[in-house]
Amino acid sequence: MVIDFWDVGQGNCCVIKLDDNSLIIIDVGRRGSPLVDWLNDRPSFPTIRTIVLTHNDADHAGALPAIVARGGASIEGVCALVDRNIEAPAFQKILEAVRGGERNGFFRLERLERNKIIWEDAAKGIRLIAVYPGMLDNIDAANPNDTSGIICLEIKGKTELIWPGDVPMQKMGESCHDTEPYAITGPHHGAPSDVRTPASREAIRAVRPKFNFISVGTHNSYSHPRLRFIRQLEVEGCRVRCSQLTYRCERLRVNARDHVLKTHGYLGLRAPRGKYVSCRGPWRLTLTNGQFVPDRWDEEHLRIIATLKRPQCLLGRGWKRGDQPFQ
C-alpha cells in the first residue's frame, strides 16, 4: 500500500494505492487539480474503489466532476456528506455529476457517517473507517467545516492515519483520543477554527500524532497555516510537513519562486497550478510489514529548510539558526 498526500495548493487530496493497483481517493482538490492530470495520463483509467469527500467545499471536492466524467464505470463508489443547503448551486453542480453516474449504474453514492467502514482488507486487518460525524453532529453543525468527516486508516485495530478534513481540533480530540497515529493531515490547512482555544492543544495531547502533513497554498488569503498551531504541534512532538512555503517562513524565496524541493517531479506526480512555491511538496508513505516508511526526501527537506530565514516548523521545536536540523 502506497499513500500519496498530494500537494494541490490550497486544498486537500490524498491517494491510497492498494496492492492490486486500485485506488482510494480521500478528497480530490479544487477545479484544475493535478490529480486529474495524473489520472488522465494513465493508459487505462485505474479502478477507484471509492472517492471519499470529507466535506463538499470547493478545495476538497472541486475536481470531482472532472474525475467522474473521465472515470465512469471505473469508479465503484463515492462517499460524501450532506453538509449544506442542497439548493446551493456549487453543491448542486458538484453532486450532479455523481448523481448522473449513479443513475447510469456506474457506482453508488453513499452517506459518510460515523462507524461506516469505507474499505476493508480483512486478511491484512486494514480498514478505512469514518469516525465522525454522527447524524446529530451533521444536523447541529453551525457550518460545513464543523461537520467535516474524520476518516481513519486502522491497521490491526490501531489507528495509523487520520484525515480530519477541516474539522475543529476539539472534535478530532473527542473522536480520536489516545490513538497515537503515525500521521494526520491539517486539519483545515493548519488553521483549525479553535486554534486559539485551549481545546486545540488538549486535542493534540489527546491524539498524539507523530507527523502532520499540512496541505496549504503559498498565496492563500486566509493566513494558513497558523503559526500558533504549528508551534503547538511541534512542542507536543508532532513533526510538521507543509506542502508549500509561505511568506512566514521566507519572503525572498517565495518572491523568487524558488522551490525548496520539487517533490512532485521526484515522485512522478503532477505539479499544482498557480504561482506557488513548494516546500515539502507531496509526501509519500509506503506501508511495509505493517510500518509506514516515508519517502527519502525528508532529510533533504530538513537540510534545506534549515537555511530559511524563519522556518516555523523548526522554530516550533526550539531550533535556532546555525543549529543542525534534527528529525
Partner: protein, 210 residues
C-alpha cells in the same frame, strides 16, 4: 556552445550533513560528480528541448554544462547521466529529451529507481521547469459553467463559483452558447488555473434569463 574556463566553474557547495541519519541525496550527488581538473567545461546554449515532437517543450532553468574528456573526445552532460562523442553534439537535445522521458516514465509508473537513476532524476528535475511541463502535458479536464456575459468580454462562472474573463481566442469555442446558459466542456488549464482552450462543448440547461 560557449567556452568557459574549467577553473571558473564553481564546485557545488553542500552543507555539513553529519547531524543527519544516512546521507542526503545532494551529498551523494556531490560524491558522484566527475573530477573536473583535466576536463574542459562548455555551456550548451540551448534551454528548450523538444520532449514530444514540438509540444510540450522541456524548458531548462539553466544552460546544460558539458564536461569534455580531452583524451577520449567524449563529453558528459552534468547531472543528466548522458555520455556521448563530441562529434554527435548535434543530437544532444534529442538525447536529453529522451533521457528525461525515460526517467519521467519510470517515476510516473512508480517503478523502483536504482541509486544512480534516482540521483540523475533528482538533478534533472532540478534543472527543468517541471511545473510547466506538467501543465503543458496535461489533457483537458471536464468542467461545467454558466455563460454570464458575452460582451464586452465573455465571462464564465464555473461550477465552484469562480468567475473568469475569457480571452477572445478561447471564447470563440462558446460562440453558440447563449447568455445564462449552462454548459459542460473539456477545458485546458494554464499555469494559474486560467482557461487556455475549450473544446467538446455541450449545453446543459438554462439557469439564468438572458
Amino acid at each position: 556552445m560557449t567556452y568557459c574556463n574549467s577553473e571558473q566553474v564553481q564546485q557545488p557547495h553542500f552543507a555539513d550533513v553529519e547531524g543527519l541519519k544516512g546521507e542526503t541525496v545532494s551529498a551523494l550527488v556531490a560524491k558522484q560528480s566527475p573530477p573536473q581538473s583535466d576536463n574542459q567545461v562548455f555551456r550548451f546554449s540551448q534551454k528548450f528541448i523538444p520532449a514530444e515532437g514540438n509540444a510540450p517543450v522541456l524548458r531548462l532553468t539553466e544552460f546544460p554544462k558539458l564536461i569534455v574528456d580531452k583524451r577520449t573526445m567524449e563529453f558528459e552532460v552534468e547531472g543528466w547521466g548522458i555520455r556521448m562523442p563530441c562529434s554527435e553534439v548535434y543530437d544532444l537535445p534529442r538525447r536529453m529529451g529522451r533521457r528525461f522521458i525515460e526517467l519521467f516514465s519510470k517515476a510516473d509508473r512508480q517503478e523502483d529507481f536504482t541509486e544512480e537513476e534516482e540521483m540523475t532524476w533528482f538533478n534533472v528535475v532540478n534543472q527543468v521547469d517541471y511545473d510547466r511541463f506538467s501543465y503543458d502535458r496535461a489533457a483537458p479536464q471536464y468542467v461545467e459553467g454558466t455563460l454570464i456575459r458575452r460582451s464586452p468580454h465573455f465571462v464564465v462562472e464555473w461550477y465552484d463559483g469562480e468567475r473568469e474573463n475569457l480571452s477572445p481566442t478561447v471564447a470563440r469555442s462558446l460562440a453558440l452558447i447563449e447568455t445564462g446558459e449552462s454548459f459542460g466542456a473539456f477545458v485546458k488549464f494554464g499555469s494559474d488555473n486560467q482557461t487556455i482552450a475549450i473544446e467538446r462543448v455541450t449545453i446543459r440547461e438554462r439557469v439564468l434569463q438572458a
